[in-house]
């Protein structure tokens, strides 16, 4: 296993312009990181991913802020393409660890909405950041969460004051740079009764570690998406925890399409009655990609609801992994919790692992889970071929149909269309096995 020694982090991080309390928090996390063991295949959650973790180049230089900025017309092509025609309330664009571009509707700014870089927010609104930072994804969660807590250099901060409802989405784009290890962190706090949509997209190269902490105060509602379409020689390790208080609603989407090895740990803590968490996932591993997912629905309160729906496709020698846990604490009566994982394998060599788990310690509950792994239906394929579709077109149509019930549940149409295009590209791409003459 590659090591990031304590020294590797200390010098670069000490240069960050930030308050003393934050430096102290980092220092504590760094000590914890040095002490905790790396995950191995013996850790259930890392059963299928520990091998690939070894390939992540933790010795690449840490991406640090260099003060780079962009004008709106200088935004990268990929970002401009994605924003074409889209209405939004705010926009952040990160180049490496630099917050290169930031935009927020003036009206919202006046009403007390904050949408800026997390490091910038820690300097200018320390009280807002400090009360929530590290509360959802603490360093003590493990080796990687400790590294994420110690070494983050950039990320988004979204704050919505009490009762504010914003229908337009907030966007953040992260363009990671080749040959660097970058660590990002996102913090979203929605005060009582606030409503917002936030979409974060990760593009580019390099090895990226991301943590997202989502706080939904009573009756707050958040639509949240974490989309990863990085280059296929890159790495992406992500951990998300949402804390849902009473009567809150989270609509969450995790998308893994890029990277050589991508892992997403997505969890919701249901802390009050009436909390409702819907977590969707879409992933597609081709070539030798490995897409690993670990979900948690943690019911600490009675009368809450949660639903996980993850769908994956694997092609070539791609591996898709889903592990998920519904945990009901004693007293979590009147819970409704569901978990579904569906997998589609397109050819020999592709593999899927599915481990949907339940740990239930209350009896007056409705819990179920289902998982399936099935091939493309030969009859459907044959039918489409008889109607003149090429094999690839027919497959694409069937893959699109397979993913439709998740993509169709994405409340942002532009995003859904964009994802459909990326998926289509992958289906049509020359199969890896054909290249090798097998």
């Amino acid at each position: 296993m590659m090591t990031v020694s304590a020294l590797d982090l200390e010098t670069p991080l000490s240069a960050l312009d930030e308050p003393a309390w934050l430096k102290e928090e980092r220092e504590a996390a760094r000590a914890l990181f040095a002490r905790l063991p790396w995950p191995t295949a013996k850790d259930e959650s890392w059963r299928y991913a520990a091998g690939r973790l070894k390939s992540v180049p933790f010795d690449w230089p840490l991406a640090l802020p260099r003060g780079k900025t962009l004008q709106k017309e200088e935004l990268p092509e990929a970002v401009r393409e994605r924003l074409k025609g889209a209405e939004y309330a705010g926009l952040l664009v990160f180049l490496g660890a630099d917050l290169a571009y930031a935009e927020l509707d003036g009206d919202l700014k006046e009403k007390g909405v904050l949408f800026t870089g997390l490091l910038e927010a820690a300097r200018r609104h320390p009280e807002r950041v400090r009360e929530s930072l590290y509360r959802a994804v603490p360093a003590k969660d493990g080796k990687l969460p400790a590294l994420m807590a110690a070494a983050w250099t950039h990320g988004a901060f979204l704050y919505l004051p009490k009762g504010l409802e914003e229908p337009r989405p907030f966007f953040a784009f992260f363009l990671h740079e080749e040959g660097t290890l970058s660590v990002g962190r996102t913090l979203a706090v929605l005060e009582e009764g606030a409503r917002a949509s936030y979409v974060e997209e990760h593009l580019g190269e390099g090895a990226h570690l991301a943590a997202s902490e989502l706080f939904l105060r009573p009756a707050a509602h958040l639509v949240h998406a974490h989309v990863q379409t990085q280059g296929e020689k890159s790495y992406h390790l992500y951990r998300q925890r949402a804390l849902l208080e009473k009567d809150t609603g989270l609509r969450d989407l995790t998308v893994n399409l890029g990277a050589d090895f991508a892992r997403a740990e997505v969890g919701s803590e249901l802390l009050g009655p009436g909390a409702d968490s819907e977590m969707l996932g879409v992933y597609f591993a081709a070539g030798r990609q490995h897409h690993d997912h670990d979900t948690l629905q943690h019911h600490k309160s009675p009368q809450a609801r949660s639903d996980v729906y993850y769908k994956g496709v694997a092609k070539d020698e791609g591996t898709i992994v889903y592990q998920g846990l519904i945990r009901l604490e004693p007293g979590a009566q009147k819970t409704d919790a569901y978990q579904t994982n569906r997998n589609l394998l397109l050819n020999r060599g592709a593999r899927a692992e599915s481990v949907p788990k339940l740990e239930i310690a209350a009896n007056d509950v409705r819990c179920s889970h289902g998982s399936s792994i099935a091939p493309i239906d030969e009859e459907e394929l044959f039918y489409l071929r008889t109607r003149g579709f090429s094999k690839e077109s027919a497959e694409n149509l069937l893959v699109a149909a397979f993913l439709e019930d998740v993509l169709g549940r994405i409340p942002l149409k532009d995003l859904a269309d964009h994802l459909a295009r990326v998926i289509e590209e992958k289906v049509f791409r020359e199969p890896l096995l054909a290249e090798k003459g097998r």
């Binding site: 394998l345 599915s354 009896n363 399936s372």
Partner: protein, 468 residues
């Protein structure tokens, strides 16, 4: 409680002990114990070596890092008796030769003599030594071997050696290693090609010495096109010392053969029951595991079928009923290694009081297993607010033509169903038992009649006073 049920309630406590002094009792887990066991059994040198090597492997292998809490067991390992030889001069050939005290025990266990005569062969195990064993003449005529595992080694050494520990080697897991070192008792079954054994082969196991760990070992070989149903039931008197049961069961199902293995364990609730059950199924063969877990303090048992030949099939049907103080961690494994293999797992669990039942299973499809199909169904019923259930199903699929499905549900004893039955004049307890029986029905309908009757009565008793 009706008079009849009271009698059964008493029976199910099994808290009686017979006054039978053992001839030899070996305590503690050392190479000396292992050597003495082998010596007492008059085993060939290769078996003594096998046992000693297994003991070394046991020392080296780690304890499981998952599943139920075994910390108490870890501390007590040296306090168990690893071999107890009752005072008989070898297996009895007829019922008359069985010692009086032991007969009395069987009577209290409720095995009627007449029933034994009807059954094809009753291998009744009294502690480690098989004291009573009868095989119907007809079976002998057909060439079916149904003897104690010790006799199997003695009289059929070549056949025995060809299969023994080939499916569950000592390196498989810590408890398989322990069993391999100190095994004693169990059955050896061989069914020759094409022979269909119509009546089930039945063995009763009993554990009778305080702090005694039973390490039965069963080897079943079903040759080409043959058919057999083996039934094992276990029970043990109640003692205060924690007891240990670690069995290893290996079944070889040859081409087009058909095998069924049924076991209902009702060990007392201070018993650790850690069992490895595995079958290898060749082309066109079929293996059914029917597994009932009612007793024990901790059970870890995951019957497995390795589907090695084209078109091999397996079904695993299981029931777990966990009460306060019990953690039943059970499940099943299907390993698909050949094309057109198929399997089905149905698991039904009930947790009552603070009982905890866990399903832990694996479906694995190798790249060669084209068109493999498997379906897993896990349903859990929770009786009380403090009852617990877990589901840990693993699916590892490396073939794109495989069709694998898993469904699990968790529900509680429903008020509306209870209420409906009560409005029809059915008392609450009976209504609860009725609902539970209905919940288990998909599995219990596969049980031999006498097992199903016993199980239903047991459920009635368990449900008494548990609602309302």
């Amino acid at each position: 409680m009706p008079e009849e049920l009271k009698h059964i309630a008493d029976d199910y406590r099994w808290d009686f002990k017979d006054e039978v002094e053992p001839e030899l009792a070996l305590k503690g887990l050392t190479p000396e114990t292992v050597k003495k066991i082998s010596e007492a059994k008059g085993e060939p040198a290769w078996m003594t070596e096998f046992r000693l090597k297994a003991l070394e492997i046991f020392y080296k292998l780690p304890w499981p890092s998952w599943g139920p809490d075994l910390s108490e067991l870890k501390e007590k390992l040296d306090e168990f008796y690893y071999y107890v030889k009752p005072p008989t001069g070898g297996p009895a050939k007829s019922w008359d030769e069985v010692p009086e005290e032991i007969k009395k025990t069987y009577e209290r266990l409720g095995i009627p003599e007449a029933e034994q005569k009807v059954l094809a062969g009753v291998g009744a195990q009294y502690d480690s030594e098989v004291v009573y064993h009868s095989v119907k003449e007809e079976l002998e005529r057909l060439g079916v071997i149904f003897v104690s595992i010790e006799e199997g080694l003695k009289e059929h050494e070549e056949l025995f050696r060809r299969y023994f520990a080939k499916l569950v080697p000592p390196t498989d897991n810590k408890f398989a290693a322990l069993n391999s070192a100190v095994w004693s008792g169990g059955s050896f079954v061989y069914v020759p090609p094409g022979v269909e054994v119509e009546v089930p082969l039945q063995a009763y196991f009993r554990v009778n010495t305080a702090g005694f760990g039973q390490f039965e070992r069963t080897l079943i070989i079903v040759d080409e096109g043959a058919k057999v149903h083996y039934i094992e039931g276990c029970t043990a008197p109640l003692y205060t010392t924690e007891a240990l049961h670690t069995g290893v069961i290996e079944i070889f199902v040859h081409k087009n053969a058909h095998s069924r293995y049924t076991t209902i364990q009702n060990w007392p609730t201070n018993m650790y029951n850690l069992v490895t059950q595995r079958a290898r199924v060749e082309e066109g063969g079929y293996q059914m595991w029917l597994d009932g877990n009612l007793g024990s303090k901790v059970t870890m048992k995951y019957p497995s079928s390795i589907l090695r030949g084209r078109g091999a099939r397996s079904e695993v049907l299981s029931i777990a009923f966990a009460k306060t103080g019990q953690h039943l961690d059970t499940g099943a494994k299907l390993i698909h290694l050949a094309p057109d293999t198929s399997g089905r797992i149905v698991s039904k669990s009930i947790s009552k009081g603070e009982g905890r039942s866990s399903y832990r299973g694996l479906v694995k499809v190798s790249p060669r297993a084209d068109r493999a199909k498997a379906n897993v169904e896990c349903d859990a019923l929770l009786i009380h607010p403090e009852s617990k259930t877990d589901t840990y199903p693993y699916m590892e699929i490396e073939n794109e033509t495989a069709q694998i499905g898993h469904e699990a549900t968790v529900s509680r004893l429903a008020d509306d169903q209870l209420f409906y039955l009560e409005t029809r004049g059915i008392p609450e307890d009976e209504a609860a038992a009725l609902i539970v029986r209905g919940f288990l029905e998909p599995v219990t309908k596969e049980l031999p009649l006498e097992f199903a009757v016993e199980l239903n009565r047991l459920i009635e008793l368990e449900m008494e006073g548990s609602v309302g």
